[in-house]
Every structure is written in C-alpha cells, then in structure tokens.
Amino acid sequence: MMTRMEKRNLAMGLLFASPWVLGFLVFTLYPLIMSIYYSFTSFNVVQPAVWVGLDNYRELFFKDPVFWTALYNTLYFTLFSVPLCLASGLGIAMLLNQKLPGQSVFRTLFFLPSIVPIVASAVLWLWVLNPESGLVNSLLMQWFGIQGPGWIASPEWSKPSLILMSVWGIGGAMVIFLAGLADVPPTLYEVAELDGAGAWAKFRHVTLPMLTPTILFNLVMGLISSFQYFTQVYVMTGGKGTPVDTTMFYALYLYRNSFYYLRMGYASAMAWMLFMVILAATVGVLVSSRKWVFYHGE
C-alpha cells in the first residue's frame, strides 16, 4: 500500500522519466525484439520478412568464409590496438602527471587528435600513409633511406596501419588516466618512499594498483568501441575492406550485408553474434577484474 506522497512521487518520477521510457520502448526495446526475429528471417526492408529458421546462423558458421575473416580481423585489431592504446595512454599520462613546464600545452597536443571528426582523420591518414608521396614514406626515405611499405594498400600492412592510427586517438583515455593519477593520495607515495621504494617500485606497488579501476574502465570502453570499429575503415577503403578483405572488419561486413546486399536478416544474425562476443568479452573482463582491480577504501 503506497502512501499519498509515494504515489505522488511515483507519478512525478514517471512523468519526468517519460521521455526516456518512450524512447526506450520505441527505439531500444522494440528494435531489440525485432532484431531477434529478423535474425531468423530473410528480410530486405522492401518485402515482408520470410521465416527461415536457423538458416542465417548456419550460413554464418558454415558457409561464409568472409564472416570468419571479418571476425578474425576484428579480434586481431582488438588484441593489438586496445592494449597498445591503454599502455601508451597510461605512459603519456604518467609523463604528464608531473610538474613539468608546459604541461597543459602537452596535454592539449595529445588530446586534440581524439576530437577530430573521424572522417577527417581517416582522410588525413590516407594521405599521410600514401605509399608514394605520403608524409611517412617521404620521411622514411629522407631520414633512413628506406622505401616504406604500401600501408593501407598493402595486405600485410593494412591492419598494422590501422592499429598505429588508433594510437593517435588515445586522448580520451589519457585524460581519464590523468584524473585517476590525480586521485592517488600523495601520502601513499611518501609512505612508499619512506619504505625505500624506488621509481619502479612506486609505479608497481602504488600507481598501478591505485589505477586499476581506471584501467578497467578504459579497457571495457576500448573493447566495446574496438569491436564496433567502422568509420575509419569505411572511409579509408571506400567501404570495401580492401585489400583482399584484410580490412573487412565485422561492423563493416555487417553494414555491407545490410545496405549493399540488403540481406538484413543475415545482418541481424551477425549483430547478435557481435553482441554475444562483446558481452562475453565484457563479462570476462569484469569477472577477471575481481582478481586485479583494487578499489579505494577496500
């Protein structure tokens, strides 16, 4: 039995929350349910969906090598890009987290690339990595006399190129690391110093444990966005995932199935597989985090 005020609060609360409730029902819950349904159909938007049972999933697993290529490419990218970005974000944050002249200028310089519109940065990198006249290969030639590789255009270098590019956008993670570093109580360092800890020991036994929640946050965010990597590779390969599918990422292949081949049922099945992979990865990280994440005050 609710009291008058509880009833009033419930009514008011729902009234204020109603935009979200409506949005959730129409733009999240309904599509979520329909997406499951579509994944069991053959559907091209124009004609009504036709039930095909598990055909889409069967095709994904047993008949579509590109699906596996896309999955492999995405996992490959994630496996290298996420740790690399975490490490370099943390490294730069640690360098910045000291009383150095020009600290805020440096912070700005490292942060800027992460706010550039992705399309612009993709076009820019396409030019920077241009095999003939791009900046990187010109400099390699000028400084070391090395003929640089074809980067994006080369099957061996296309993924490493994208991984290197992703390091350019670590600004957000870096700022979060900086905030995390600022939260480490200075007294802990003083105590560690009194205990005779050197720079490495302080990092290993004070900084790193205190930063684990921040690392976890950046790791989860990095994983989720890396699995959905799309815009850069769409722009840089004209939506084709070239050369020879070496940059056919999962989200790109899903997009192609949806809007090039109009196989929306098939793409829905792909979306659910992606969701499962992301969920498994996130849950895996969160479960493991109980072992390595240290929370203040525990």
Binding site: T3, R4, M5, E6
Partner: protein, 368 residues
C-alpha cells in the same frame, strides 16, 4: 499567527524505522517552542512533518484551524530556516529573500518593501546584491532568516539553524533570534540538539528521545523537575551526576548507599514520604554538579558528604569544574572556591541532598 497542534503523530520510514511515536503537542499562538534531543530522536522529522516535507504516517497536524496533513508545504503558510542555510547559490541575497513572494505573485512594490524591511531588521541591507558564496556563515544565516521573515508566515520553523556556526556567532545569533521572536510576535518551532540553545531560547521545551516526547515544560521547570533520568541528564551542563545504588531505611532515617557500598548519604526528612515506596530498592541518585559543595560550607546537609579522587581540574573563572572518581563512577562538581584543589588528591565534598533527584532504576522515571 496560529497555534500548531499535533495529535497522535507517528512517522514510520520505509524499512520500518519508526522515527516518531505517538507524539502529542500543542504550540500556542506566539509561543517559542524548542524541540531538543540527541540526534536521531525524531525532532527534525517532527518539524519536517509540520512543514509538509515528510508525510505523516498517522495522526493529525493542525496549523491554526486547518488540518494540514494533505496540504502541500507551499500552502501551509509556514517558513523554514535550514541548518545548511539552503540559500539558492545562483540568486542574489535579494532574490533569495524575494523568491517565495515572486512565486506567490506579490506586487513588485510590496516585495521590495518587505525585503528591505527584513534586511533592515537583520542588518544585511548592504549585502542585498551579493550572492550567497560571497557571504560569511553568519551572514548566510541572517539571509536564511530574512527569507523566512519576508513571507510573514503563520509559523516559523527552524531546523538546527545555528549548528553550522562557530561558538561565538552561535551565542550572538541565539539572542538575535530571541529578539526577533519578541519583535515579530509569531509562533516559532525550533529544533536543536543543543540543550543550552533550548534552555536560553524556548518559552517551552520539548525533550525527545527515540521518537518519543519525554517532557514538555518551560526551561526552569525542566531543569528542576525532570520527569525521568534521561531529561535530567540531558538538560544542564555539565550534566547531572548519576550514582547507582539503593535506598535503605531504618528507625525513621533514610540513606542512599551506592552500589559499591562506598558512599552513604542521609536523605533529609522532608523527602521521606516520596521515597517510602522505594525503600530497599535500587535507585539512581541524580545530583547536579552545583549541588556538590566544598565541605564545611553552611548549605552542606548533615551526614551527606563524599570523598573522591580529583582527576581533572577545570578553572572556569568564577567557578571551578572538578572531575572526580568516586569508587569507579565519574562525577562532576562545580564549586565556588578561591583555592584551586590539587589533582590526584582526595577531596571531600558535601552533597546538597535537598536538591537531589531519585530515579527508579528500572523505569528510569523520577521518584522525587
């Protein structure tokens, strides 16, 4: 102006905690009533129910002739001063004070007149254009009071308004609020945990504990005639000494003997009648620090003195507070002497048994 009446008031929070238990109280028109008690005793909850910020679980609240249980706060014609001032940080002092009147669509002229008048009374006219951030704690408190005044409400509610101020300001604001009450002649209900504030400000004091009203009385009556051990111990500073023991009566005499059999005090004959029923039973003796006196002074009652070890001496100027150890029980004495006693010596004090209180050890109610 109005009287406030609370009938069988109860408040049960979700989760089952009962913050107020069957409270009954009448605050007369133009009266200044202080609700006092330790934190968690339900005094603030009671006040917030009067304000309409908390819902009544059962019981009635009347303001004037109106039953206000279901009336929203804005229509109760009350004003409230909060502990943390609750000034709107984004508004000037003027706007803070005027806000309630603006919402009630008072004419601009009237608002201006009231705000300036209130500012005059509180001496904050010079601050009207400032924002709360630029004010000191005392000034903020004045603005908070001013905001209440301009509304000219039927009832003023104060929720620990002075606890965020430093000691000196607190004393100053205390007298100012008292003066304000005389000037405005309106009903005021004031919540505090500080018994000194309660004693100095209230026409009547309501002592609460664990959601239950213990006693409602004017300050001096509360001081001299507490209804139970809690009220006796809560009111007065330093607090009343409580010595556990029993009453022994033989041959027309009555003695109080402490639980260690270390002290035996003779009870004066005029109190025998009241204590008759408790002879041989366990009681707590309550004795205020000022009723312990240097041995040999005229008021010392016959056959009622104690010898205790002085642990701390606190010279207060006019008086001295002594903290003593009486067979394991701590007691405090407030004596008036020119010679400062020495720490760690045994000291003999007379107990004024005419002023002693006796409490039933089980019910903790006052026997006499």
């Amino acid at each position: 102006m109005a009287r406030v009446e609370i009938k069988n008031l109860n408040k049960v929070f979700p989760g089952g905690i009962q913050a107020v238990k069957n409270a009954n109280l009448v605050v007369e028109d133009k009266e200044f009533v202080v609700l006092v008690g330790p934190s968690g005793c339900g005094k603030s909850t009671t006040l917030r129910m009067i304000a309409g910020l908390e819902e009544v679980s059962s019981g009635d609240i009347h303001i004037g002739d109106t039953l206000v249980n279901d009336v929203p706060p804005k229509n109760r014609d009350i004003a409230m001063v909060f502990q943390n001032y609750a000034l709107y940080p984004h508004m000037t002092v003027y706007k803070n004070m005027a806000f309630g009147l603006i919402l009630r669509k008072y004419p601009k002229k009237e608002i201006d007149r009231r705000v300036r008048e209130a500012a005059e009374i509180l001496g904050i006219t010079a601050l009207l254009d400032r924002r709360p951030k630029a004010l000191s704690g005392g000034q903020r408190q004045r603005v908070a009071v001013g905001r209440a005044i301009v509304r000219q409400p039927k009832v003023f509610l104060f929720d620990e308004p002075l606890s965020n101020l430093d000691a000196k300001l607190r004393v100053q604001m205390r007298t100012e609020i008292s003066k304000l009450h005389h000037r405005l002649q309106s009903t005021m209900i004031y919540v505090t945990h500080d018994q000194v504030e309660a004693m100095t400000m209230g026409d009547r004091i309501v002592v609460m504990l664990d959601g239950v009203i213990q006693q409602v009385a004017p300050p001096l009556q509360l001081y001299h005639h507490p209804v139970n051990k809690f009220v006796a111990g809560f009111i007065g500073s330093p607090p009343m000494n409580m010595v556990e023991g029993r009453l022994a009566g033989e041959n027309g005499t009555v003695h109080f003997i402490d639980k260690n059999d270390a002290v035996c005090l003779t009870v004066p004959p005029e109190r025998h009648a009241a204590l008759k029923g408790h002879l041989g039973k366990k009681v707590t003796l309550g004795i205020r620090p000022e009723h312990l006196r240097e041995s040999g002074t005229p008021q010392g009652a016959e056959g009622a003195s104690i010898k205790a070890l002085i642990e701390v001496v606190e010279p207060m100027g006019f008086e001295i507070n002594l903290y003593l150890n009486l067979g394991g029980q701590s007691i405090t004495a407030r004596i008036n002497t020119s010679v400062e006693p020495t720490v760690n010596t045994q000291h003999v004090l007379d107990v004024d048994m005419h002023c002693a209180h006796f409490f039933d050890m089980e019910t903790e109610n006052t026997i006499v």
